[in-house]
Structure formats: C-alpha cells, structure tokens
C-alpha cells in the first residue's frame, strides 16, 4: 500500500489536500527537527471521495463522553477551529456521556437533522456501525477519529495506532533497561482495546531478558495506580521498570515508589504533564529514573475537522490517516513540560499556555 507522509504542522496549517500529500511524498519530506512539530501523519494510498457542497456546512460531532482532560482539550481545540470558520460551517456537538446507546441515539439525531458530515469518537467500535451505515447511505460524510470503528461504513479515519505506540514505548523501556530486568505493567480501564493494542505492541519489543512480573489495570487514574503499585511493591522486591500506556498510571506508580522509599526506575507513559513535572523534580535524586512517552495528540479533532471540510469541498482525502507522535524522553521533555500548569494537562496540544490556563482556571 502506498503511504503518504506529511508533517503535522503542514497538516494543520495548510490542510490535508491530496495533491499536497502527493507533493510532500514525492519530495521525500521528513519530519522537522522541531520536537513539537515533528509528529507526522501517514495517509493510506486508498482515497476517500470528496463531495462538493456549496453554502454554509453543518457538521455534527458525536463525542463519546466529555469527562476527562484530554477530551476537553480536544473539544476546545475543535471549537476554537470552528470559531475561526463560522462563515464556512457550523459545528454541532452532542455528548454520549459514556453511554453506548445514547451515542447511537445522538448519531440518529444528527442524521435526522440532515447534517453534511458527522465526526465521531465512538464509545464502542461496533455499536455505532448501523448508525454509520445509515449515515453514509444518506450521503453524509462520516469521519471517526481517535478510536477506530469496525467495518467500512465511514468515509475517512484519523488516529494513532495503539500497537505502534506500544511498540515505541516498549522498545524504549527495553533499551533503557539494556534488554534485561524485571518490569510491571499498568494499563487503563479494564478490557479496553487501546491498552490491549499498546501492550501487544510493547511486548513485541521486549528482549528475552525482560521479565514481566505483572500486568494490572489502573484505569488511567493516579490514585488507582498508586494503590495497585503499592501492592506490587510488596510482592516484588525488585522492580526495574514500569510500562504504562498512560502518564497518570506512571505518575501514580512512581509516587507509590516514593512513598515506599524505593529508588525510581525507568517508566513509560503519554503526554501527561504530571509525569514530566515528577520526572523533573525527581531525576536528580534518582540516577536510574528515565522516561519514555508517546503522546495522544489532542489536535486529532482539528485534523479530523479539516479533513471533513476538505471532503465537503470536493477534495479526495486518504481513507486512513495514522498519526505518528514523537517519542518524548529525558532529552526533550522540557520542550513539552508546562511547569506553571496543572498535572492534568496533556501537553501535545494546539492550545496555547494562555488558553490552557483559562481552561484549567
């Protein structure tokens, strides 16, 4: 399959026109040296057909839920983007409140309202399929992002690849430990497919010398991770590394190590500000402490929105756009860390510090 690569900054500022993509691929462009802008987006060779719709567009966004910081940053970025383009489109946001059936009802409502396009972060990758089928048959552009959905009843998809992200953090942890050591792993909500994908990717990178002592769910919450890690510390006198798919888990686990007076060890996570602040505060007194994190960019929604507008302007777009975020480690974390902002901020964001301060104020 032909792969098309583009820089995130170009994707965001120039847009994701197919002609532009081909041009970038043809010129063999690589990622920028600037850490924050060097995340790249790889588009599939398979293209989605654009539909030219004149006049002011109506775009619906079915958000699976809105109860965490990442979703808030994502939604705020999308609303900011929509505010800049009020002459071109109206963004209608509906919230599934974490309920699968409510989200399906929300999607049906958007179809009945005859919107031009639907963006969606699905609560369930399978439950939304019938509604997506109904929408695509009605000629509505459907763009799921962040979490994949089953089937082919959608127009274009934007997101990261959990398995590849896990492989990145898994390899980094393996390398930080020199391919040898005992590790524990903490994941997100029980049974979620994102953690399963990440963990599968991570395990594929561990050398035989890496011994996995335990894998536990910690719900991406510091308090849960701290409690679980305290038990694991009692059970295992030697823990050389911690693999996590979320920064909250890593921060909670590391705080449990601090409480148990154990020296901090290499850990992985995402772009959770609290983890970078913790690393910054503790690295001097813990020589073995290192971090390796891969973000889940909260600007995904903006890319999805711009892709949708391009499609509704008649441009063909890649069917799948996979975001390859940057590895954030001890060499570049200071470019991402926001010391003056709360731990809960996810730092790979389009929002400025002032906007974040206002949001978290």
């Amino acid at each position: 399959m032909k792969k098309i690569m583009m820089r995130r900054r170009e994707a965001l500022k120039v847009g994701l026109g197919a002609a532009g993509l081909v041009a970038i691929a043809a010129s063999g462009a690589t990622a920028l040296a600037d850490a924050i802008s060097s995340a790249k987006i790889v588009g599939s060779g398979e293209m989605a057909k654009g539909i030219s719709k004149p006049g002011k567009l109506r775009i619906g966004f079915s958000n699976g839920f809105s109860g965490n910081t990442w979703r808030t940053e994502c939604l705020t970025s999308m609303l900011n983007e929509a505010k800049l383009n009020t002459d071109r489109y109206e963004l209608i946001v509906v919230d599934g409140q974490g309920d699968i059936s409510k989200q399906v009802n929300d999607l049906d409502d958007l179809i009945v309202q005859n919107v031009d396009a639907i963006l969606c972060i699905a609560n369930s990758g399978t439950a939304v399929v019938p509604a997506f089928r109904k929408a695509t048959r009605a000629g509505i552009i459907v763009v799921p992002f962040n979490l994949p959905v089953e089937g082919e009843h959608w127009t274009a998809y934007i997101g990261t690849d959990p398995e590849k992200k896990g492989a990145t953090t898994g390899k980094a942890l393996n390398d930080m430990l020199g391919g040898k050591g005992k590790i524990v792993a903490l994941g997100g909500l029980p049974g979620n497919s994102y953690t399963a994908g990440c963990w599968a990717g991570a395990k594929s990178q561990f050398e035989p010398g890496i011994q996995i002592l335990a894998f536990k769910d910690a719900s991406w919450q510091e308090d849960r991770a701290k409690v679980v890690m305290a038990d694991l510390l009692a059970a295992y006198p030697q823990i050389d590394g911690i693999w996590c798919d979320g920064g909250q888990d890593a921060a909670g686990a590391l705080k449990a190590m601090i409480a148990a007076n154990r020296p901090l060890v290499p850990a992985t996570g995402d772009d959770y500000n609290g983890l970078f602040k913790l690393y910054d505060a503790q690295k001097a007194s813990n020589p073995k402490f290192k971090i390796a994190c891969v973000s889940e960019p909260s600007w995904e929604g903006v890319v999805a929105l711009r892709t949708t507008v391009k499609l509704l302007s008649g441009q063909d777009m890649p069917k799948r756009q996979i975001i390859y975020p940057l590895l954030i480690d001890d060499s570049n974390y200071t470019q991402f860390m926001k010391p003056g902002l709360p731990d809960g901020v996810f730092v790979d964001t389009l929002l400025t510090d002032d906007q974040l301060k206002k949001l978290f104020g």
């Binding site: 965490n68 808030t72 510091e222 308090d223 305290a230 909670g252 709360p342 809960g344 978290f360």
Partner: protein
Amino acid sequence: MIGARASTLFRRSPVWAAVVLLYIVAAIVSPAMLKPAQMLNILQVTAFLGLVATGQTMALLTGGIDLSVAGVVTMTNIVATSLMLGQNQNIAVAIICCVLLGTAVGIINGLLIAVLRVAPIIATLAMNSILFGLALVYTGGAPHGSSANAFNVIGQGRWFGLPASAICWLVVAIGVAYMMRRTTLGRWIYAVGANEAAARLMGVPTRIVVVTAYALSSVLAVLGGLLVTAYVGNPSLGIGNQFLLTSVVAVVVGGTALTGGIGSVAGTIAGALFVTELTSFTNIAQASTGTQYVIQGVLIAISVVAYRMLGARTAA
C-alpha cells in the same frame, strides 16, 4: 477447645474471623502479605473505603442505601484541590467548604427520601448523577489545583509508626460506633431501619432521623474523599467511582442487613478491611480485574445468604 473457641468467634463475629482467615490464606499463597510494610499499606488504603463505608452503614441501617457517595467523593476531591491550590493556608477553607457541601447533599438526599418518599436507590443515584454533572460543569472537564503539602500528611504520612489515614479512620469510626450504641440518635436509626411505622408510633421523629442519617453518610463520604485526596494529591473526575460498589460490599460483608435495622459500625470496619485485603491479595496473586469484580459480586451474595442463615439460627 481451640475448635470450640474458633466456632464461637465465627458465630459472634464471622467477619472478623473472615478477615483473619483471609489474611492467613493470603500469607500462605503470597508471603509478601506478611511484610509489615504491606500490612501498613493495607491499613492506609482501607481508611478511604472505611470512612465511606461507615457512612454507608448509616444509610443501610435506616433501610435505605446511599449511591451518591461516589459523587460526594469526587466532588470533595475536585473542590478541595481547586480551593487549596497547593497552599497550606487554604486547607481550612477547603475542608469547611467540602463538609458544608457534603452536609447539604446529605440533607437533600434525606429530604427526598423521608419527606418526598422517593426510593433511596433512585434519590441517591440521581444525586450521584447530579454531582458528577456539577463536577464537569465546575471544572469544564479540566480539573485543576492540588492538595497542600501539610494536608497530604493525613493521606501519606505516619503517626506513631502507623498510617495517619488509618488513625483518622479508626478514630472517626469508633466515635460513630459509640454514637450508634450509646446515644439516642443511634438507637433511633436502628429503630427506623427495623420498623419505621413502629418507631414513629413510639415517638421517634423518623423523618429527622432519616435526614440525619443521610447527612452523616455524606459527611463521612466527604471525610473519605479528603483522605483519598491527601493520598493522591491531585484532582480526578473518576476518583469516586470505585466507592459506588465497594462501599456497599464492605457494609454488607460486615454484617449490616440490606433491609435495615441490623448491623454495626464495628462490622463495617472489618468489612472494609476484608474488601481491601482481598483486593490487595488478588493484586499480588495477579488476578485479573474481571476476576476481582466476580469475587466482589459473589461476596455480596454469599454474605447476604450467610448472615440470613446465621440470623435464622440465632432466632431459633
């Protein structure tokens, strides 16, 4: 002789016997459970659930249930961290605000149940939803702030070699246990739970008792929320969710009847210890989260059946 004593212990305080037996089994399977650090860790973590479950006991003793405790813990965490902002001088204001809010929530729950005759499960579930919604509105989905260092001592520190959180919990729980056994209010709560109509005929102000019980439940959930906030130091919109089920499990395992009127705070102390011990053991034994949920559900069912059988035998 030993067998007879064990049998007596089982009959009088089956949950305490279960706590001891579980610990022995856990220690055999995983010797790590015998480490003093792990014992202290279990005590430290039990304190959060213990306080919330002590409040839940009040609600269950009246014949009701308080499913808003999860929302109250989350509200406490969000409000406390946003008011403290990591500054020691803000601790008092934050605590007072949380306690006042908790009291208001409890009084509203009580009024809905006692005056408007809304079923407790509906009233408190609705309140839980309202509190989570308010937390979202208040934070805009982006909670901010942190707890103050001096405050964190009660969640992370040690007093006399013991976890400060456990000392806070046990002092409060013993105080509530005393109130339940030795004061008029305590006896009224039991009376209302056993037979509300009969209690009313005896002159017990049943509505006031129910409102007071739910207010106490909420305030104790606030105290649990403050402890868990001090433990983790940060705000989290999902922090209270874990207490929705576990607080009921701890109370039921501790011997309090879901029908009201029967039970004790002392039993709940043991119930909270048992639940935390079990979670800790299953963590160490690498049981999956799914298995842990199954065990919790089975535990509720077994406890209800076992206490009913014990109650029937005692009555006979």
